[in-house]
Symmetry: C2
Subunit: 330 residues, 2 copies
């Protein structure tokens, strides 16, 4: 028996990140339109494609609604909310574009066809990113001639305000394309998480989904109301999470001993029936990975220093939220 | 066969909420000390009990560290950070107290013994709340002579900054005691969730725990690093959660059709392998409860209005967090 060696994945050789001036947005609903608003705010020219005859008016309204927020966060020099053209012809929208962001509806067959069409029309070397939240690029790229340049770039809603973008390639994606698109989003000011391999739901949505399913079970069983679930987050752990994520939060819960103390002390509670999700075995290896990860994140800051930073953040966040609530009630 | 009727639960007849001036804090570690700082900031006198000889110095340091934050959030008239006495004799700490907050370590036998002792020494009618995060009052109250006045009042760390308190009684707790302690915490300015029945982990910790376990699985399987998990929350959904909880977040994701549209459209994704936690069946009843709950929370605000409020909150939260990060890096 002989093994056929896999063909090497070609490097698409994209343009320099800093040389990009024109972006194609394929699909300009809530997500694609949000991307368009963001790209405009960063000073790029946008060529949009959307089959709907109302797409132009809708994206205009979306950009106009988003612009004050984008201005508040700071526009790039020369940013122009009108530097966008809307096309119903795909080749026209892709003409001259040096990067493509696809944000079509979450229908696999549609994504497969559209990515193949984009690939057929985009200039050689141009990277094509998909906003998909539900599919892997391995599934979506099956009909494309150059899957090496197709990458997932999954934003969060609204893409012009939430910094997170999750980047991951498919089996046929070139590592150079993954690296390029990560560098590109970072150049745009995004907070980029580059994943090594495809995981359904990526990272943030997996975590959100676990919480959401537990919440649905609680409503289903009469254990909590919708309002109680929401308030348990907004007035509880939700106040800590904009500064410190769930891991670092528990690092602080361990006191001066940090995550190591926390796991040794509260490890047994992993077996408590506090959620319907079964916990992994707390092996030495897992313990070590979590402790080392928290130490990396703490980056020399002691637990008391992190606590002081958390407390300042909670106060500041509470104050801005209370101001906004008073304002909207007035 | 005859059924022995359960003895009626007596009403403990606590004092008027507004008449409370003196509080006993039993156990003054991180949680109990945090409660003490909060009670002092609200203008109460605190009598603390702790068996550790260092407890007095530790709680002094904790209160002094917390006081600037409490001052920033606004002190009650006459609030005095020194209006606290620390005792090693339990009866002395309870003498004259009109409310008791127990915050001993999470060891069931210790809690059972301590709650029985508190119950034996506290004046009649005084309500006794436990900060437990892990036990039900039904389990903890077994040795107490008057379980009708024992209630769980579960805070979040740090109790002087996070508004949430979860309140739930045990099988022998008087509904009047549950109502009293809810009214009392609200009087103190807390955000109170009163649960109808005991659920392991209460609400916020169940939700947190589902997310935490999914995160541990991801680390265990090499699907994400600790840093990626934290950043996926801080730079992603964590920015939305201080204003709008997970339910209302998805209400907005449904567009103008809100949660109803969201469930009808994305309901099938409940079956996607986006977390290891199995989803409940999306029955008409569950759908109805979730949609009605979101409508109640929206309280007449349209989805575009909620979106505008969310966007303002994200901008404000991002700005304060970025300011704090720049400040701590300086």
């Amino acid at each position: 028996m002989t093994t056929v060696p896999a063909a090497p994945i070609p490097d698409p050789q994209p343009p320099e990140v800093a040389e990009v001036t024109t972006i194609a947005c394929v699909g300009i609903g809530t997500i694609g339109g949000g991307w368009a608003a963001y790209f405009l705010s960063r000073g790029y020219r946008v060529q949009a494609w959307d089959p709907s005859p109302e797409a132009g008016d809708r994206v205009r309204a979306l950009i106009d609604a988003a612009w004050p927020a984008l201005t508040q966060l700071g526009l790039a020099e020369g940013a122009d909310p009108h530097a966008i053209s809307v096309h119903t012809d795909l080749a026209e929208a892709l003409d001259g574009a040096q990067f493509v962001q696809e944000s079509a509806p979450e229908v696999l067959e549609m994504k497969q066809q559209l990515l193949a069409d984009i690939d057929a029309h985009a200039a050689p070397g141009v990277i094509i990113a998909s906003s998909t939240s539900g599919y892997s690029m391995t599934e979506m790229a099956v009909d494309a001639a150059s899957p090496e340049r197709l990458v997932v770039g999954h934003p969060f809603n609204p893409p012009y305000l939430i910094p997170l973008v999750e980047v991951v390639g498919g089996e046929q994606t070139s590592p150079a394309a993954v690296a390029w698109v990560s560098a590109w989003y970072e150049h745009l000011g995004k907070s980029v998480i580059t994943m090594d391999h495809e995981v359904p739901g990526f990272i943030a949505n997996r975590l959100q989904e676990a919480l959401w399913r537990e919440a649905l079970h609680m409503v289903d069983n009469g254990e909590a109301t919708v309002e109680q679930i929401d308030r348990s987050i907004t007035d509880g752990p939700g106040l800590r999470w904009p500064l410190q994520g769930p891991m670092l939060t528990f690092h602080l819960a361990g006191g001066p001993g940090g995550m190591a103390h926390m796991l040794d002390h509260f490890g047994p509670s992993l077996k408590s029936p506090w959620t319907r999700l079964e916990a992994p075995e707390l092996t030495e290896e897992l313990r070590g990975a979590v402790v080392a990860g928290c130490d990396d994140e703490a980056d020399g800051r002691t637990v008391p220093e992190l606590v002081a930073q958390r407390d300042q953040a909670i106060i500041a966040v509470r104050q801005v939220i209370e101001q906004l609530r008073r304002g909207s009630a007035a």
